[in-house]
Amino acid sequence: MVRLGSGAGYSGDRIEPAVELVERGEIDYLVFECLAERTIALAQQARRLDPESGFDPLLDSRMRAVLATALRRRIRIVTNMGAANPVAAARRIAEIARALGLGAVRIAAVCGDDVLEHVLAGNYRFEETGTRVRDLGDRVVSANAYLGAQPICEALRTGAAVVVTGRAADPALFLAPLVHEFGWSMDDWQALGQGTLVGHLLECAGQITGGYFADPGIKDVPDLARLGFPIGEVEPNGDLVITKVAGSGGRVSAATCKEQLLYEIHDPAKYFQPDVVADFSDVRVVEIGPDRVRVTGGKGTPATGMLKVSVGYVDSYVGEGQISYAGTGAVARARLALDIVRERLRLTGVRMSESRFDLVGVDALHGDRGPRAAVDPYEVRLRVTGRAESVHEAARIGNEVETLYTNGPAGGGGVSKHAREVVAVQSVLIPAAMVKASVRIVEAAS
């Protein structure tokens, strides 16, 4: 059996549960999944300014928290915290190992996901809009292919204590240790499908142990403040039990596993991955003990031969301003304020291709579909946001909210405003054969 611990479900995730996993989880592998769709594009921009940057900003904190214990207990770490610069991340981990006096440590960086040149040359078509990459001109900042389990397995075969990747399919971070340990063939679609299921369930960390689940009165979760992160116990045939560190907070139940199973899935019978098209349509979920759930029935069919590529580009600039009103008449004053801002943005000729005028607490999330309250809320927050072609133009939107202080209705307070560049992401598919992944070794000497 192999025990996989999931130490992070996103880049900003809590660090303490990962420490708990290495100290008390009796795990063989600790996986940190830290790379959202857009993160790598932002990291690519950072790398342009500083060639030794471009990896996850919490790399230091996470490694300092777990590395010594992981090495002592022979727990191997797999992570995509390399983001836009896995080699620099590997060097950084080596520096940390030296600084902590941890002796000789081998770190493997998985490279090759950066396919910007190829994607520009091929002028691929975007999946969602049908437009083409070169239609974006010089606004394209990155293109990274989702690598599969094979290069991660190659990195594990070097004996590295830490494997750090850039863009890889999230489930592949978990599938690779299973392929490596059990010697699964890369055309054993049933095993790869079940292994993808393991990875999919674990990749969001606390989202399967009771995080993002609680709804007081109908879906209670014990001790959520000390939420423990999940452990996947996997047998050589792929059979899986999801559990967590004994004594940690949270809960693993059939219901928490089902919610995570369907999270960010489209057709459950066709979950497209670099190594397999996984099929979750026959999955069964059975509670076999306290905080222990068996999940079986993952299947698969051959991979498509195409890899998904996230293309990051500078889309636009967004400006936003917020201000709060309270007490009797708060909603009426906030609506008056919205009308004033709308009119002023028009009078002063602020150019916006799209805008929103929301009352947070009334209609910001879902429009005015909620039941009409008999009385207005005691307080309400106005939010105006719009899309512009320059950061200067975008800043004018928040300014027209701020000026409500002395030029708007009575009693507005707590203004916030910002204007930012929006780096957006769209996807293309490219032939897998075009992507040449490789492994670079960085050694920390003792």
């Binding site: 919610e259 369907l262 960010e264 999955v283 579909r369």
Partner: protein, 110 residues
């Protein structure tokens, strides 16, 4: 009754597509949900909150459904102007759907 009394949900996002799981608390309510929480009912319930179509996938083994909604996230999570750009709170919209209560005399199906 509100759907919230019979099932729970989690929203996910990929680009401009949102998916909403719907999981029965009791397996015996699956058929009742299958009858009343159709793709068309969900599409009508979401109204102008989303722009695309709703496709429903059925998972009888899990007593669950997966609703996949296209053009749901203001052109994509990474560029949406919405306060909740990911549409994370759409699960709460779904659970507000009013449906008839299940017949308490109906035989329990496994």
């Amino acid at each position: 009754m509100k759907l919230r009394e019979l099932a729970h949900s989690r929203a996910g996002d990929k680009g401009d597509t949102s998916n909403l799981s719907l999981i029965a608390y009791r397996e015996r309510d699956y058929e009742h949900l299958r009858r009343h929480v159709t793709a068309a009912a969900v599409r009508a319930h979401l109204g102008d909150l989303v722009r695309g179509d709703v496709v429903r996938h059925e998972l009888p083994n899990l007593a669950a459904f997966n609703f996949v909604i296209s053009r749901a996230l203001g052109g994509g999570v990474t560029r949406s102007l919405a306060l909740d750009a990911h549409g994370k709170s759409f699960s709460s919209v779904l659970l507000e759907l009013e449906i008839p209560g299940p017949d308490p005399a109906a035989p329990a199906t496994p």
